[in-house]
Symmetry: C2
Subunit: 303 residues, 2 copies
């Protein structure tokens, strides 16, 4: 294998999505395959056949190392890989990798998730985001920082000397969807193109809140501001989004003024816009951090 | 009509429930009728026939004054009665009552809702709760206090010199249902008899939160405490309930140590229990406050 040839197959297998990358040793992506075949769509015992069907062609030129991260390593996935506790960096996470021996694809490295306990002793977990963070550190040549990975379950992670020292999950995306689709708030909403001013107004409203329970009151303003014609039906969804994301930023950053965002371009832009309203500097990471993190972890895999 | 005879028909007609009371002038309830015929189940133009069918028998002995409160006075109800703005007591709300002239039931008094604006100028509204508060004031012989009406949309109202001076809506009940039925949190929950210790643990967790956005993180603990076997599947629902109600209490009371609860016995007991954990004294109001408030308002009706 020359240095310009493929070195590994990197797979980010989440709850609702599947992404595979054929990569060179320096992280260059040669080919990619994405689908909605998340772990929830795959029955026990069918993972190997599905995977072979997708990446089999990439392996025809010779065996490649294969590494997976994400919810595929959870109890609902292929094999449960126990969490590596914080603080956790390349060494700790790499040493905790599990190995799946397959008949048709050889040994597959499985990245574990990471666990932490907050100051009250309450546990928190991530699976997949740790690999993206490690990839972002490699791509940005950094060893420290605050990282936010927005989404259904947003993660805010603190990294010191290359290790994730603590993190918190925020159910922002899922709460937004539940409020919009399953409460009275959605009834007055109308679909419209993105309204940046309504979003910014929601972010500013979040900044005015004081107590944790104020959120349960503030979200109701999405209804009353519509009732009193202060917001149009097409603005209500963006207002609610700004309210929730603004509150997440102010809580997740814990007073810090800078963070790095790892996420889809659209969601990253939204978080950066919210940060701007709040006087925070949110910097997008390079794209495709997962395979970069997986490549770095492969060097520590004992499989 | 003697003082021991019926004096009025009082109707509390909400979004999802209908309650009618045949009452004496002193508020004694002679008969009652309750059903699930909330306003969402009644088509425009059918309110009078439905009402006549339910209370017609009570009127056979002679005409009685009829008064209604609740969402029946909203845009989605029978007739929209414009909100009376805070501060609002018997005089202001009574003077703002609308009148519905009917063919078969005569004139019906319609209690308006009440509106307020918080210090940021954001509007809030109630319809029906103002009447219950006025009834509680009459029943308890009070003119001041903080009142909480727990439910789908909990209301926290401040009363001074017999007038509601301000109030806030908390979407606690609806948020709880949306989180339980439409997010990952519900997946690990199992039905069980009420668990007071898990509820109290949720209330204590709410008291440890600091920032508004912390709620978006704290609710995720309902999942991780289950994942780490700190709570049993049958305890998770009560933990989440305690977390939300505890946060509501700490925000709604705004530092006050005492409040009066107007609600169903079960929900009132829950709020009182949460208050106890937080060192607050929550006192239940007498039951059936709505007809008492309606009777008091009838004296101010210009219909």
């Amino acid at each position: 294998m020359t240095s310009s040839g493929p070195a590994a197959v990197c797979i980010d297998w989440g709850t609702s999505s599947f992404r595979a990358y054929l990569v060179k040793a320096d992280g260059t992506i040669l080919e990619r395959s994405e689908s909605a075949r998340g772990i929830l769509t795959v029955a026990r015992g069918e993972h190997e056949a599905l995977l072979a069907g997708i990446i089999g062609g990439w392996l025809s030129g010779g065996a490649l190392r294969i590494v997976m991260s994400g919810m595929i390593g959870s109890r609902q996935g292929w094999l449960e890989a126990p969490y590596a506790p914080c603080p956790a960096g390349l060494q700790e996470i790499g040493a905790s990798m599990a190995t799946i021996e397959t008949r048709t694809l050889g040994a597959i490295g499985l990245v574990p998730g990471v666990s932490t306990f907050d100051r009250d002793g309450s546990p928190d977990v991530m699976r997949g985001e740790e690999t993206q963070i490690l990839g972002a550190l490699a791509a940005m040549n950094r060893a420290d920082g605050i990282f936010v990975l927005p989404g259904t379950h947003s993660k805010w992670a603190r990294v010191e000397a290359g290790r994730i020292t603590s993190f918190s999950t925020y159910m922002t995306g899922e709460v937004f969807a539940a409020l919009k689709d399953h409460t009275i708030l959605g009834r007055s909403m109308e679909a419209a193109s993105e309204d940046n001013s309504a979003f910014a107004e929601g972010v500013r409203a979040a900044a005015r809140l004081e107590r944790p329970g104020d959120m349960l009151h503030a979200i109701f303003m999405t209804r009353t501001l519509g009732l009193f014609d202060r917001l149009r039906p097409g603005q209500l969804s963006d207002y609610l989004s700004g309210l929730l994301i603004g509150a997440e930023l102010l809580s997740g950053a814990e007073g810090a003024q800078e963070a790095i965002v790892i996420g889809s371009p659209a969601l990253t832009a939204r978080y950066c816009a919210a940060g701007e309203v709040l006087g925070m500097t949110l910097q997008p990471s390079p794209e495709d951090c997962a395979p970069l993190g997986q490549l770095a972890l492969l060097a520590h895999w004992r499989g």
